[in-house]
Symmetry: C2
């Protein structure tokens, strides 16, 4: 049996050697790609979101295990990140501080071989990318536990930046206890209102007699356990770790597909990857039937809307703005036809970008 | 040229397929290793620090580039981490909070496929591992910028845990400015005393007329820039990011090999990896020549001491304690002979562990 262990380890060693050779070979090929770009383009773009999305999709699709597809895609994200860093040290600005979900999203999308720079506000992230001080920016756009981030949408109204990617983080809620919590005497549970709503069924079934108290954020709920022995909190892993709490029950959210979404912003247009989304702003004079008018062309062309958000315009000449996310790339004929129809009907359209659907 | 780009990308795609197959094959082999362990050992140990150190060393030694050896070793750390996670979800306790150097050390050593648990104090980390609630713990032991962590050494006096690894983090110091800093009117620079000392030559050469003011920590120095327009701070990347500062000049430390050291603690003994260190506590009655007596056997056997720290004993029967780190493994004949000699001379010896020298 010991010999068999040695034998297996020898096989692993031989395999590691092959792996290492392939990794270096890949970096060499990536370098050749960069050389071709430099030779043919005065402003070569090394980071290609559509190409990376294609690679990651293929990795997940063809994966046979035992490593799961997500772990495998994470490896390839890091491999591409390291290969890219040989050509260009990328700087990515994000809505800080350190340790936020937005930073997590930035690293998930770009890998660890980038320099990530936390900034204090969403418009600072935009400014940093506009000024060229950062190559890309990462901003939250839909945060199911801490509210919709309208500020990001508003900032797009006055920015020329393009969306060149999206990131989704799966968010789990855990029932947490503190060090002093007397678990058999719990009378109240704290969390953000939206989180409480997302765990309603579980709470109904398992803690029917316990009072639910909404506080300003999940982190605030976690913080309170320090001083209260008869309470628990519902919050995510980061709050659990930050406040040294213990999970009594993990993943108590009623819908297991609870995610938070972030956008990657940059200065470049992104070619089609095959599975893309397009975000646009449509503005028109507020009149009866406006919403129907705006939506009809999408339906006529069979284009799936993934999100619709209406916002009051901040400028005098626009009276209403719709933010629309739909499937497809702006170069697709049917989407092009929708845009033509909307413009012909007197609406103003601002394309925020076409970009690959989130892979990881 | 475009065709050549397509051609290169096809080569990369083919190579990625091979890479992926190899990664899954590696996980399958690792699983077979686990099966052999389970079949032959009632308490199988899946994590083998000495084996991982050997793999990482070989990866670095044989690396041909273009990816550098450290990047490559990081990949293999993550690959081993993911393979191990298929067998056993490892729980690693560390001195928190989130975002500290100690957490960075934990992830550097164990990869990202472990659950890392922040605890509030060094003895809590010890207790968690002693109780079996965590598989391993990570504690700081020499922190060049924030002082020596004597508390860790003291805790070893009353613990049966073994050191099974060490981690070194390279620490850089940057000259930082805040948003309001008027860079041409700077009259003072803040930092921790030890950091100021470590950047003395650079400050003498580049900022001779500027007052150096020592504060309690580098983070505190960074924090002060919020309110002062005529000051800069010297601190590391984490403080820079946390407080949204800008680096005026990076890596201004006089010695480029400035590192901070951490220990991995666990319940198991670690076999020799080929390049090991041993940590021990030697206690004896305080008498003239005690230090010389303790050191002589090491010199006689040609064993290199990498660190020596003397501490007053906390128990009545020990009057003095030396913490010694030396090269070699406790099973090595020459180290064994040193231990015999020291015991024969009436000293009490406590072996804290033999473990692989830091690789990454």
């Amino acid at each position: 049996m010991t010999e068999s262990l040695d034998n297996l380890r020898n096989q692993i060693d031989a395999l590691d050697q092959q792996l290492q050779d392939l990794l270096n070979e890949r970096a060499t090929l990536a370098h050749k790609v960069a050389e071709v770009k430099i030779a043919t383009d005065p402003n070569p773009v090394f980071y290609r979101p559509e190409r990376e999305a294609q690679v990651l999709r293929r990795v997940k699709e063809r994966n046979q295990g035992p490593l799961d597809g997500e772990t495998m895609a994470r490896f390839f994200r890091e491999i591409m990140s390291a290969c890219l860093a040989l050509e260009q040290r990328m700087k990515v600005a994000f809505l800080g501080p350190e340790g936020t979900f937005t930073q997590q999203a930035a690293l998930k999308h770009f890998g660890h071989a980038v320099e990530s720079v936390p900034l204090g506000a969403i418009d600072e992230v935009f400014r940093e990318v506009e000024a060229g001080a950062a190559h890309y920016g990462v901003v939250p756009v839909e945060n199911s536990t801490e509210g919709v981030v309208n500020h990001t949408l508003d900032t797009f109204m006055s920015s020329e930046l393009k969306i060149c990617g999206e990131v989704e983080l799966r968010i789990h809620h855990h029932l947490l206890a503190g060090k002093h919590t007397q678990r058999d005497k719990v009378t109240r549970v704290y969390s953000h209102q939206q989180t409480l709503a997302q765990c309603r069924q579980w709470l109904d079934a398992h803690m029917p007699g316990v009072e639910r108290i909404a506080v300003s954020s999940n982190a605030e709920a976690a913080r309170r356990l320090k001083d209260e022995w008869n309470a628990m909190a519902i919050a995510g892993e980061m709050a659990e770790e930050l406040y040294g709490l213990e999970a009594v029950q993990r993943n108590i959210e009623d819908r297991p597909d609870n995610t938070t979404r972030f956008l990657i912003i940059g200065r470049q247009d992104t070619p089609a990857s095959g599975k893309d989304k397009t975000s646009l702003m449509i503005s028109g004079k507020n009149r009866p039937g406006l919403l129907f008018e705006v939506l009809a062309p999408f339906r006529d062309e069979g284009i799936n809307l993934t999100r619709l958000e209406s916002r009051p315009s901040r400028t005098a000449n626009w009276s209403y703005v719709f933010f629309v996310d739909c499937e497809g790339h702006k170069e697709d004929a049917n989407l092009q036809s929708v845009l033509d129809k909307l413009e012909a009907a007197g609406n103003t359209i601002k394309l925020l970008g076409s970009y690959p659907k989130a892979v990881l």
